[in-house]
Amino acid sequence: MYDIIVIGAGPAGMTAAIYARRAAKTVLVLEALSYGGQIINTPDIENYPAAAHVSGYDFATNVYNQAKNLGAEFRFEKALEIVDRGEDKLVRTKKNEYTARAVIIATGSANRKLGVENEDRLVGRGISYCATCDGAFYRKKTVAVVGGGNTALEDALYLSDVADKVYLIHRRDSFRGEEASAALLKERENVEFVLNSTVKELHFEKKLNAVTVVDKSGAERKIEVDGLFVAVGRTPENQSFSSVIELDGAGYALSGEDCRTKTEGVFVAGDNRKKEVRQLVTAAADGAVAATAAVNYINKK
């Protein structure tokens, strides 16, 4: 039995592991894919204190090595279920079962899909969820971005430097994202706003070649594009654990700022938690808070 099992090896989970190890607790980190979480997609982090420029990969690798060197154990298995047995918690993966006195859920979030037919089969064939990763493939081409938040605006700005033409498709007539970015976009001659519109259909042969959008009046327009960048938000990865944590309507885990949940000994940290600011630095902060709460919980037992 471990003292603490951390589910998810992103910045929140790995920071939790660091704090738990420094409190001399045994720690197992379970990760479905690879350490780092979504930060590995970021080519350059510029807003983390004391790291003015660092790639997401290097940042994640540094935190991973730090946690490992402190004695955290990592296993690359997807956690499928948490069973609250009172005194201890059982975490089930496909092949194994692990027990711990406390569990920290730091599973983060996944890209939200558009939900349009053929979307999945066109990923990598014109559909992308990461402009900074895949934008370079669309040099001198025509692309569209879907969404109205900061990510969509930043993606459109980035792509307008690379592609010949950028359509920004958004279901409302104003953006949730920062006004400064929207103002910059309006000045770009190669950016066209397609507002009050949603994507209805994807057209393709081998690759995506056009999208049909429909506006609020029901009018349709077919736009020829080589690429479609989907930036319509993220979905928290909490569904497997809804028996031990309470979720809000959007699927985020409810907890106080102390990262406690409705189940004693189960804590949440990072982007899958309901909170105002989802940034690298707040993910790390959650990790520290949740680990400290878990350590206190164990010590008081």
Partner: protein, 101 residues
């Protein structure tokens, strides 16, 4: 066996003329998920003698990337008997890549 770096100079010989199925990883040095995928590919290369694993730097080999219509990376293309048989885009667990085979 390590992952073999392939260029347009030896692509024909190492990939198209290979007598084993080839997993060709189109990657770039600036791509974080590509770096995360590498140890997974090395594992497959080490464990499976029936498969050859190669990597192709899309910044150096843009013509190969274009020829195989790579528009997102990491992109692992399965070649069998000199032709593409399947592909997987994005960082995926080992099982997903082995499912291609």
């Amino acid at each position: 066996m390590a992952v073999l770096e392939v260029t347009s100079a030896n692509f024909e010989k190492e990939v198209l003329q290979s007598d084993r199925p080839v997993l060709a990883d189109f990657y770039a040095n600036w791509c974080g998920p590509c770096k995360m995928l590498r140890p997974i590919l090395e594992e497959i290369s080490d464990d499976r003698q029936d498969v050859k694993v190669v990597s192709i730097d899309i910044d150096e080999e843009d013509e190969l990337a274009e020829e195989y219509e790579v528009s997102a990376i990491p992109c692992v293309v399965l070649f069998k008997n000199g032709a593409e048989a399947d592909r997987s885009v994005g960082l995926k667990p080992r099982e997903a890549l082995e499912e291609l085979l």
